[in-house]
Amino acid sequence: MSAIELRGLTKVYPGGVKALDSLDLVIPDGEFFALLGPSGCGKTTLLRTIAGLETATGGAVVIGDRDVTGVQPGARDIAMVFQDYALFPHMNVTDNIAYPLRIKKVARATRQQKAAEVGARLGLEQLMERRPGQLSGGQQQRVALARVMATQAQAFLFDEPLSNLDARLRLEARTFLKKLQHELGVTTVFVTHDQAEALAMADRMAVMESGHIRQIGTPAEVFQRPANTFVAGFIGSTPMNLLDGVVRGDTVDVADCKVAVPESAEGLLRDGEKIVYGVRPEYNVYSAESADGSLGGTVSIVENLGATYLVTLDVNGVPVQAIVPEGREPELGDEGFAVPRRDRALIYRDGELVSA
């Protein structure tokens, strides 16, 4: 078990595509770390570069205290679960789990015993004689996990570990993975394009966009205080309201309404400055009556999210979304008002968060 450190890591593909642009990142020992971003942002390339399946063009990868930048994948003491699991179809579950030990020339009896142990821990006892083709998606995933556990590597790398499971199983697997990682305490990096997955599982996460890391932080930090408008728009199951506004003293003019300057930006704004006012629908308090500093308009869409409703207000031509608890949802065409919470609203100047 050990930390992973990236120093100025750069990857340029032949043809000049810059997949990773001088990344610096430290993942402490035992952390469950998520690499999050839209497809093509370089997150999978980053994972594969840590694994050694891609060679870095510049910079260094340090695992433990060892610089492994030029080291073969097999000598890095890491283990990886691939997106498609890549279980060997001609081997049964036991042989699959024991394969890393076979490479390390562990005696047959020992590795079979070890495979049985790890398999039992993941509830695979009944399946040890089966071939991967005879297993369900969730079972295959557990075999793939068992196989990396058998390596006793210093760090685990998961490439989109949940993307091949159906929605129901995905939730189960999410909980299971988080618990397993916590119990094992092995430094684990996983890649995902699903922000909910990253928020739910990771201890900390990095949000990536076109080869750059746009923000590093705990899920709470990233969710509550996105460092820039890209992260703000990407994180959250309903995207943040990002509204163009102009600063007027203690208030901001947004869509012909006046809202208060958020706490986080107090004293940091110049009068008359053009900014972007950001507030999550969850932090927009909806009411049917006009209030000070509210965004008023007509209800144009009401979407059922289960226990809550996502209400879209048409505020002088600008759509503003708010989350409303069940039972209090308005009718289409009603007049409604959204009051942003001052402690949660954010101001972005040139796409970057304004804060002390």
Binding site: Y85, R131, G137
Partner: protein, 272 residues
């Protein structure tokens, strides 16, 4: 309705005639060896063993079948090993001009064991002292079959997902271990295909062994069959029929065996 029936009847009669055209020679091959005094006609066999006795009296007949087995097995083994390694490398390593190289090889390979290269090949074999040697013949046949085999194998290799190998690589497997543990089991049907194809090719090859082996003791069945004449210079139908049967049985058996044992492909372990 009647027109439909008539058309159907006409169709099946046509099919029957066409099939008979192919079936009669096979029928002849099956019956002639067991018929006394066989002719070109297909007759009800009287199950004599006389023809086989006559064939076994020929000093070279059985030995030549064994020679055929040796040549075919040797060539198939070499072709499979080299084609697998070459195809794996060509499939996984990005080489400039790789496809051009493959197509050129394929084009030239039809020349190597073809009539055009007879004289130079003979010269080469003489210079290397590989003339009249079964090993030399195996090497030359292998050379002729390899390009097409590599071409076919590469197709099989290309269709196996890379993540199997990357997975093994991350666990620390060396390239040769990856080939042995992962790639070969995955492309087994491909290996079987190449092996069968190579055996069938060598088994039926007349020109190369006729050219390069002068010792009758070393010649394979395809060449020995050419010597089965009566004293009068007529084709010896008694021996030809019997030998023809023995000559074809191993190939048929091989097809049955291989398709039973390797005629499937492993699936799963990759979620699509």
């Amino acid at each position: 309705m009647t027109r439909f029936v008539l058309r159907r009847i006409g169709f099946y009669v046509l099919i029957a005639v066409l099939l008979a055209f192919f079936a009669v020679p096979l029928l002849w091959l099956a019956s002639a060896p067991f018929t006394s005094d066989p002719t070109y006609q297909v007759r009800m066999p009287d199950f004599t063993s006389e023809n086989f006795r006559a064939l076994f009296d020929n000093p070279y007949a059985l030995g030549s079948l064994w020679n055929s087995v040796l040549l075919a097995a040797g060539t198939a083994a070499l072709v499979v090993v080299f084609a697998t390694l070459a195809a794996y490398a060509l499939s996984r390593v990005r080489l400039p001009g790789r496809d051009a190289l493959l197509y050129t090889l394929l084009l030239l390979s039809s020349i190597i064991t073809g009539t055009a290269a007879m004289v130079p090949l003979f010269q080469l074999a003489v210079e290397l002292q590989l003339i009249d040697s079964q090993l030399g013949l195996i090497l030359i046949l292998t050379g002729g079959l390899l390009p097409a085999a590599i071409f076919m194998m590469k197709d099989f290799m290309d269709s196996t997902p890379k993540s199997y190998e990357e997975s093994a690589r991350v666990f620390g497997a060396t390239p040769l271990q990856i080939v042995r543990h992962v790639v070969v089991p995955l492309v087994r049907p491909g290996l079987a295909t190449i092996a069968v194809w190579a055996v069938a090719n060598v088994w039926g090859n007349f020109l190369m062994p006729y050219l390069l082996l002068s010792d009758v003791e070393k010649q394979p069945a395809a060449v020995i069959m050419y010597t089965l004449y009566t004293e009068g210079g007529q084709a010896n139908i008694q021996l030809l029929g019997t030998f023809g049967l023995l000559y074809s049985v191993p190939v048929v058996l091989m097809y049955l065996f291989v398709s039973k044992k390797y005629g499937f492909r492993f699936h799963g372990g990759i979620k699509r």
